[in-house]
């Protein structure tokens, strides 16, 4: 069943790729035919989509909406974005599918020899006993105890059941050793046979004994609903994705602003729109693309997890995922302004890299500490403080949620602080952007921006 789901998902992914490829080919073809003439039907379709989005965005946000719409179109159209999305989806799919499938297939069927004729219904008990320890059995009839022992020594069988009297294994016998599937099965079979013996001694018929052996345990629910390892896995996967996405989207913002400055198109744009509209539109557009991609990944992860029965849907793991998604939004909102301001101070790729290094530092530090805390399952006071600081909260707070170390009001305080910090950073970044983006020639330094009379567009 799992493989059917996986196959279905792969088929959908391949179909989507083929569809996109064919659409691109069609657009290319119509582009050639349509040169110099009126827009062809093939061109009108995507234009209509863009116009719907445009009218929605520009209707609400005016010029910033138009800027955002352009950003969305250019980003989504980019080959790097599309390939990157597919690669991330494949990686996430693999991270979920491999452990889940591996878990199911890690228990090969145990070969169990039954000595003599199965007069006591042993084989019917074996299946139930095997299911209890999460394995399967292949029953091998043996004519005599001697031949069964011989097969056991040679490794041809894993367990020998001598009638309903005893169970033989080849390895060292350790009642506490539950790690071995064979040992666990042997103990489970022994217990089942003992109970069956007791039933018979109490006067039950073999049919009644068989019926009782099929008794199912009632479900057990814990007030600590999930194992820490599941949350840990979910938390670490989420943190890795959070780190990758946050750095990727912020780099988009930074290079986008830098390229507008380097190509001097910013001068044409600022002749018509205010700096805040331009910057806000860019941040919004890239942010929407980012959130779209993140939502796609999360939905994909949940669908795959449901298909293969992964543990990430159990316990508090979905809460951790939701928290990480929220903090991706808040983290992006905070850092995008910082990176935009930095981008406005550069006009070459090497300058961007120099500027990006110190900005990435708090992200990297928070990420490493968060991974450490998530892996160890504990957080110290310093880490808990980081969960309230806007630059580090996007990594620290989801880990605390996963470890169940925060209450809802602490979470709300952290979110409020992040929003407040974002507003302050946005105001500061807009000032830096306004003053730096029209200064060309060399990298702008922060102290040069203190003089308000340096080149900058005047506020209307």
């Amino acid at each position: 069943m799992k493989f059917v789901f996986i196959g279905l998902i792969l088929a959908v992914a391949i179909a989507a790729r083929v569809l996109l490829y064919r659409r691109r080919q069609r657009r290319k073809a119509t582009g050639v035919v349509g040169q110099g003439g009126p827009a062809s039907v093939g061109e009108q379709e995507p234009q209509r989509e863009h116009r719907r989005l445009s009218s929605a965005l520009s209707g609400v946000l005016g010029d910033a909406g138009l800027v955002a719409k352009r950003e969305i179109r250019e980003r989504v159209r980019g080959r790097i974005f599309r390939i990157g999305t597919v690669v991330i989806l494949l990686a996430v799919g693999a991270a979920i599918v491999i452990p889940a499938v591996g878990k199911g297939s890690s228990a090969p069927a145990q070969k169990v020899a039954i000595v003599g004729t199965d007069g006591s219904g042993v084989s019917s008990l074996l299946g139930e006993a095997a299911a209890r320890v999460g394995t399967k059995v292949d029953v091998v009839p043996e004519a005599s105890l001697a031949s069964a022992k011989s097969a056991l020594r040679s490794g041809a069988v894993d367990i020998v059941v001598d009638g309903d009297r005893r169970v033989l294994v080849n390895g060292p016998l350790d009642s506490n050793n539950t790690a071995s599937q064979t040992s666990a099965l042997a103990q489970s079979v022994a217990a089942a046979l003992g109970i069956a013996q007791a039933y018979r001694a109490a006067g039950l018929t073999p049919g009644q004994v068989a019926q009782l052996s099929q008794a199912r345990p009632v479900p057990v629910q814990s007030l600590q609903p999930t194992t820490k390892s599941t949350v840990k896995t979910t938390s670490v996967i989420g943190l890795v994705l959070l780190f990758l996405m946050l750095t990727q989207y912020n780099t988009w913002i930074m290079t986008g602003v830098m390229q507008e400055k380097a190509s001097r198109v910013v001068e044409v744009l600022l002749a018509a729109v205010r700096p805040l509209q331009l910057l806000g539109g860019k941040v919004l557009g890239i942010g929407l693309v980012a959130m779209g991609q993140a939502a796609l990944i999360v939905v994909f992860a949940l669908v795959v997890a449901a298909a293969v029965g992964s543990d990430i849907l159990h316990g508090t793991a979905p809460l951790v995922l939701a928290s990480e998604l929220l903090w991706l939004v808040l983290g992006y909102a905070f850092y995008c302004w910082v990176y935009a301001a930095a981008g406005s101070m550069a006009e070459r790729q090497d300058q961007v890299q120099t500027l990006a290094l110190p900005l990435t530092l708090p992200i990297v530090v928070a990420y490493v500490l968060a991974i450490t805390a998530a892996s160890s399952g504990s957080a110290n006071l310093f880490f808990e403080v980081l969960a309230y600081l806007p630059p580090t909260a996007p990594f620290a707070m989801p880990v605390l949620v996963g470890l169940d170390l925060v209450s809802w009001w602490q979470f709300v305080i952290s979110v409020a602080l992040a929003i407040g910090g974002t507003v302050c950073v946005a105001l500061l970044a807009e000032r830096v952007y306004r003053r730096a983006v029209l200064r060309s020639g060399q990298r702008v330094r922060l102290h040069e921006l203190r003089d308000r009379r340096q080149t900058r567009p005047a506020a209307p």
């Binding site: 582009g31 349509g34 040169q35 110099g36 827009a39 234009q47 116009r51 445009s54 009218s55 520009s58 010029d63 138009l66 800027v67 352009r70 179109r73 250019e74 507008e260 190509s263 001097r264 198109v265 910013v266 001068e267 044409v268 744009l269 600022l270 002749a271 018509a272 729109v273 205010r274 029209l438 060309s440 308000r452 009379r453 340096q454 080149t455 900058r456 567009p457 005047a458 506020a459 209307p460």
Partner: protein, 298 residues
Amino acid sequence: MPSLLELEGLRRTYGSLTALDGLSFSVPSGHVVGFLGPNGAGKTTAMRAIFGLTDLDAGSVRWNGSPVRQAERRRFGYMPEERGLYPGMLVGEQLEYLGRLHGLSAPAAAAAARAWLDRLDIGDRMESKVETLSHGNQQRVQLAAALVHEPELLVLDEPLAGLDPAGIDAIGQVLVDQARAGCCVLFSSHQLDLVEDLCEQVTIIDHGRLVVSGTVDELATSGARRLVVRVEGDRDAAFAGGIPGVAVSEVSAGQARLILDGSVDSDTVLRAAMTAGRVTEFSFERRRLSEVFREAVA
């Protein structure tokens, strides 16, 4: 009512450098106005000031008597000295985008983009990325970007630089047509012959100050009158030496350039020339714009 752009007392300093020093001039609609000055005179700073792209220490920019704000700027078109387009964006989409930022609806922006590209003979590059175009065609796209929203004021910083003669003719004709249609057109250039051909009016600045302003005719005929005379038998224009108020500025291959002060009657000069020999050339000479420019910024 004709539109009018007024720059009044613009002042802008960068540290110890004075880019604009009380610059004032105006640009009426219906005319192509050439904006001239040596490198570093403040032309680009003045043009950027119109669009609020530089802070002013003093002075104001007014449009039809009112201060220029964002709403007015959306009706202006600007072509900066350092060209600005998205290199990886399709030409048609880029123009539509800029048209929309200047207030056009989506269909109107698309139609205007196509119309301007056709007009500038690059309609077949609508689906091309800007970076794949030649320098000349990128320049045409840049001009289309300034024109796509049918601006009331067109400000172009060195629009003709680096163009071949066909490109200069095409863009020059567009500027003249825009002015004829009632647009205010202000453009800077160092190609003075082209400015003389295209412009009705010229403004020359130097060191951030206005030096000369007027129509091309006024400037060409202002100052001392100039005569070009060729007399057979008097290749050195010796006849002119005897006329009070006449000076010989240049003699070359039998052709003499004479400068007459206000008191001299040109008939007197003609009679003296005829006395000296057979007159084969006798004409008033207009001052070339390059001469006006050199005198103004000397």
